[in-house]
Amino acid sequence: MSTRDLTVPVAAPATPWRQRLGTMVPILVLAPSLAASFIYVFVFTLWTLYLSLSSSSLMPTYGFVGLDNYASLWVNRRWNIAYTNLFLFSGFYIVGSMAIGLLLAILIDQRVRGEAVWRTIFLYPLAVSFIVTGTVWSWLYNPVDGIQAFVRGLGWTDFSFALTANRNTAIYAVIITGIWQSSGFAMALFLAGLRSVDPDLIKAAQIDGASVFRTYRKVILPTIAPIFLAVAVIQIQFAIKTFDLVAALTRGGPGVSTTFPAIYVYDLMFQRGQIGEGAAAAMMMLAALAVVLVPYSVWIVWRRRAEGRNG
């Protein structure tokens, strides 16, 4: 960071009063946003935390019940399904979209013709809402009208593709759709990373006679390692907050098989009038995020410091 402290006046023809006002301007500009962010992040979180410890049911009340809501959350079978789904989904979704994203990025990086066209095709799902994606894919998964019917129509009459109709496989429909939606985003970030690798480094590997594959594996991919982590963290965030996709794709079903924590919170708070337990579930979501984000932030800070030391 080369930014110097610019609040110290350089040319100061102004009176001390005007000077003081001048130094106040930046803070005054920032103040409303700061206040809003502060309320949004801290006050809202503490508020929900308190609700999660209260006896709130249909309306928020402030009778303190300690960890009761958390206890009843964790003995609930549906919550356990939701949490298991979250792990399952996150794992497959992150690995899948990163693998496909990286593959596409490397392919596009081979100086293909019409690069912009390929990029646009792979990235457009990102512009579309999870609601749209979920709706359309729910039709495609529909055994009567969708892919299964199409393939059977082609002549493969016992072809079966009815993921969303079955409790055990519906989660995979969510995973596949999630990967379809977000692998383009991973591709864009990876591609940017590949382009930022020092060309001299690649030349050196070439001169040493390394193959394309080896150059990627030994030289290029290790240098963009931080991007892997960044993409993973962004994706985990999406995964933990997943709500729209499931709302439009399976609505949590069949049964409760594709319930996610985000769906659970919404259901408890606004459908069943169990605000306290809903708040507890929301706090568990925040906890899941913190488990990922806190170590990541610490690592980022550490890396910046290390870079600072090495110039």
């Binding site: 928020p60 596409l104 359309v136 979501m285």
Partner: protein, 300 residues
Amino acid sequence: MAEIAANARHDPEAAAATRRYFWNRFLVYAVLTLFAVIYLAPLLVVVFNSLREQSEIARNGLISLPRSFRLDAWAEAWGTYCVSGTCEGMKRNFFNSLWMAIPATVISTLLGAMNGYVLSKWRFKGSEVLFNLMLLGVFMPGQISLMPWAFLLGKLGLTNSTYGLVLIHVVQGISFTTLFCRNFYVSIPDDLIKAARIDGAGFWRIFRKIILPLSPPILIVTVIWQFTGIWNEYLFGVVFTSGQQQPITAALVALTAGGTTARAYDVMSAAVLIGALPPLLIYLFGGKYFVRGLTQGAIK
């Protein structure tokens, strides 16, 4: 990277290398094409179905080339289709989303630009700490804020209104816009600002004459990010609005959830496309700048 492949052509062991090069290229394009088909198929399916007759869809399934062509489904989805009691199509919800997304995008982008300017060029004691605190907003799951928002919107009399959603999206968006702009402005040389100050320019003049003219790359990113994010948002829309006040995402779910009656796939397809169109268009026209800007400054 491709230089490696390109150079293989001039290798002394020419023939084998050329053959290998050809197969490499073939494989590259084959895999890309395969994925392109997978990515484009759902879009094509919806576009076709919005143009086919419902009877044809019922007969041949969702996936097939159109044998009829008409725009009736679009007209119906836009203006006359009945959802939950009213027969106004998606029109009203479309404009709800527009009147929500435009002001929320403009306000949050302006705030983000000013905040980013302060946090990169007018640092004061503790400004880094404040920046990091604002960043936390990026990670907040919406579910945490649902009850507090419900209470606040109730107190402000903004329940079930587009204004309420604008407020939510502005507050939520500040963290993102500030992060994007701040990271971008950091790369503007401080000497430029210093020179302007020696010439007597103040806070606002520097913002207008130096910072804003340099900002288009990041403002495009911020506007695209905010607009598509707000347009596509569903949770707050479905929780805090109902019926005619709903944004288009919530209305789409209501429309497509329509029970067990014969499903009007033609109209629903058109409705889905109406709901997807604004961010798609913005992305098609601005996507190039988006990716460039995103990787230049926003995500580091």
